[in-house]
């Protein structure tokens, strides 16, 4: 009798979604192209260097070769003004473009998801305050501020920013710990004493703790402007001796783009959490005495993951486009380093005479963005049955 029993595997949400995704031809196309791109930019530059001797920054010693040459067998995508091989540059640029996209998306994931989840779960006044802050930053034309930031701290000035890192980190830590302690204490204690004098007293104390932590963080941050800490000076020295200025500009780009890309993510997550938090499994977790942080991070966030993944996939192309825009203005990646954006921007200058200088970087970039967008759409259809195509 027991031999006939088959174990039936229930189709989990993820398995189901994966099946739906594989049925979507465009999404599969996107996955294949992206996998190919990632492999190409990872091992490509080494192969090019081995096969032709060209790297992304190699300017040929022979003066005859220092000019734009059309695509040939030796240079599959031709060369640029300085005689550098565009194929090698496109592969190298892909590394930077994809890294910028992925790192900024990663920042937006960590910051946006925690922020949105905390706001959505705690609700009430705290949610209101946290979301007003997001609204405020949203109303600012952030692109203007990013431009000012990139210009002000580019080149040698990045070390100034680095020397403030210790203060910035400590102030943020003070701020976060202060807010968390006051919020959690408030949540834990206030319900019990809500109508008593002690409750009012508690409220006042917590408000004072909260204000002190904010003030302390601000004072500490301001102190960085007056004098530098030893740690800061040491960091700045290490940074300026070890990091190439070109790379430094790229780090600055990560920082600037990460700074602004978490806002929409926070909104998406908050909306998701709001709809989840009144469901039975959360109540069950509360009833069995699970703590607030672990309800947020163990129960709510995993359940809100679908839209988060979708939105993250769509953030990568939008960040890459912003990077391209900044590189076009001359504020992003600078030669000899390259990104697809900066290569396309260089190519645009010679579009009428040497069209291949625009064509190949532009096509590669468009193809990648195309694939990412298709993959994002496919994931949305697969993970979110509510908005699935009918």
């Amino acid at each position: 009798m027991t031999e006939n029993v088959e174990i039936i595997k229930g189709a989990s949400l993820w398995r189901d979604a994966w099946k739906r995704l594989l049925r979507n031809k465009l999404a599969v196309f996107g996955i294949i192209v992206l996998a190919f791109m990632v492999i190409a930019v990872t091992i490509g530059p080494a192969i090019i260097a081995w096969a032709t001797g060209y790297t992304y920054d190699l300017i040929p010693a022979d003066r005859e070769l220092v000019r734009s040459m059309p695509p040939s067998l030796k240079h599959l995508m031709g060369t640029d003004d300085a005689g550098r091989d565009i194929f090698a540059r496109v592969l190298q640029g892909g590394r930077i473009s994809l890294t910028v996209g992925i790192i900024s998306t990663f920042v937006s994931l960590i910051v946006g998801v925690s922020y949105g989840a905390i706001a959505g779960y705690l609700g009430g006044k705290i949610d209101n305050l946290m979301m007003r802050i997001v609204d405020m930053i949203y109303a600012i034309p952030y692109i203007l501020i990013v431009i000012v930031l990139l210009n002000a701290f580019s080149g040698k000035n990045t070390t100034t920013l680095v020397s403030w890192l210790p203060q910035i980190i400590v102030s943020l830590a003070i701020l976060i710990v202060g807010i968390l302690i006051s919020v959690l204490l408030f949540r834990a204690l206030f319900d019990k004493f809500v109508a008593t004098n002690f409750g009012v007293f508690l409220l006042k104390t917590l408000f004072i703790v909260f204000s002190i932590s904010v003030l302390a963080a601000l004072v500490f941050l301001a102190s960085s402007l007056v004098g530098n800490t030893n740690a800061g000076v040491w960091l700045a020295e290490q940074y300026s001796t070890n990091v190439d200025p070109g790379l430094s500009q790229i780090f600055l780009l990560f920082f600037a783009l990460g700074l602004v890309s978490w806002l929409t993510m926070a909104r998406v997550v908050r909306g998701q959490i709001l709809s989840l938090k009144n469901q039975e499994f959360v109540m069950a977790a509360k009833a069995t005495g699970v703590s607030t942080p672990s309800i947020i991070f163990r129960h709510l966030i995993p359940n809100a993951l679908g839209p988060v993944i979708v939105y993250a996939t769509l953030t990568v192309p939008s960040v890459m486009l912003t990077e391209a825009f900044l590189s076009y203005l001359g504020l992003g990646v600078q030669a000899p380093f390259a990104s697809w954006g900066s290569l396309a921007a260089d190519g645009v200058k010679n579009i009428a005479i040497f069209p291949w200088q625009l064509l190949f970087p532009g096509l590669t970039m468009a193809l990648t963005l195309f694939s990412l967008n298709f993959l994002g759409d496919g994931l949305r259809d697969a993970l979110d049955p509510q908005t699935r195509k009918f």
Partner: protein, 305 residues
């Protein structure tokens, strides 16, 4: 409703001042100054310059003076364009940017709404697939690549439109199309998704059940609901439109505000940068307010207190 509008309008001013403070802080925190170029100035000259622009005062006095001037609407004179006030420069260059910006967004709305609605009504038809693929392409090509390609085709090969510069209606065509492409793509996708959802909702079934003809159902009931996501997009779109006009102005050599802004940042022309940042923040916040108000007209369920 009225108190909601007044409250939002009152918030705009402190918000704009906050943005100005932030920008000022960023400019000031960075080492270097507008006069520090390749060549080092003699100390006496530098001291004179610092005195003239009040840079020898402590920072809180400089900040206070600047803020009190800005609150009165005076952004001072540009440091780079000698003898021209910031307000004058903004007034002179704004019309160019505003023209391409507004025309571009209107064109994007017209194309996006039409394509999105038709795609939703004829779901899974070849028009649906074609327009959505085109929209995806629009989202994937940066506008500084699209612009020069359009110039090459329509300016240099076909001689239909002038390739750059400002003058007459025909010179507007290429910049406006370049700017509109990405927004048309976004709006078409949003409209399609919104319309698909609305067409399945109960109130559309009710409208049909009470015997309205299909045209009335579509234009009076469905479009209003389907527009909501498009309206929500308008807020972020305006901020992005700024970036778009910067590129378009650069590609087509149009003397608009975007280019002036980039130049002012590169020159570290502080009053001009702050003036433009303040002006654009206020514009964006006012437009966001208009967007929020228009929700109420589109969807009778949304109310403000």
């Amino acid at each position: 409703m009225l108190s909601f509008i007044i409250r939002r309008l009152l918030i705009i001013i402190p918000m704009a001042l906050l943005v100005v403070t932030l920008t000022w802080g960023l400019i000031r925190l960075a080492p270097g100054n507008f006069y520090s170029g390749e060549k080092k100035l003699p100390p006496a000259v530098e001291a004179n310059i610092r005195k003239k622009y009040g840079l020898d005062l402590p920072w809180y006095q400089q900040y206070g003076m600047m803020m009190s001037n800005i609150v009165r609407g005076d952004f001072g004179d540009s440091l780079k364009y000698q003898g021209q006030s910031v307000n004058e420069i903004i007034r002179r260059h704004l019309p160019f940017s505003a023209t391409i910006g507004i025309l571009g967004y209107l064109l994007a709305l017209a194309i996006g709404l039409t394509a999105g609605t038709i795609a939703a009504l004829k779901q899974n038809s070849s028009f649906d697939y074609a327009s959505m693929s085109l929209a995806m392409l629009g989202l994937s090509v940066p506008n500084f690549v699209l612009g020069p390609i359009l110039v090459l085709i329509f300016g240099f090969w076909l001689y239909w439109f002038p390739p750059a510069r400002w003058g007459g209606m025909s010179s507007l065509v290429l910049p406006v199309c370049t700017l509109a492409a990405i927004y048309a793509a976004y709006i078409a996708r949003l409209t399609r998704a919104g319309m698909l959802e609305v067409m399945r909702s109960d109130y559309i079934r009710t409208a049909r059940a009470k015997g309205l003809d299909e045209k009335t159902v579509l234009l009076r009931h469905a479009v209003r609901g389907g527009l909501i996501p498009v309206i929500s997009f308008t807020g972020p779109a305006l901020a992005a439109l700024l970036a778009g006009t910067v590129v378009v102005e650069k590609v087509f050599a149009i003397p608009g505000l975007g280019n002036i802004f980039i130049q002012s940042v590169l020159n570290r022309d502080e009053p001009l940068t702050l003036g433009i940042v303040a002006f654009l923040s206020i514009m964006i916040m006012v437009f966001n307010l208009i967007v929020d108000i228009s929700y109420g007209f589109l969807d009778p369920r949304i109310r403000y207190e």
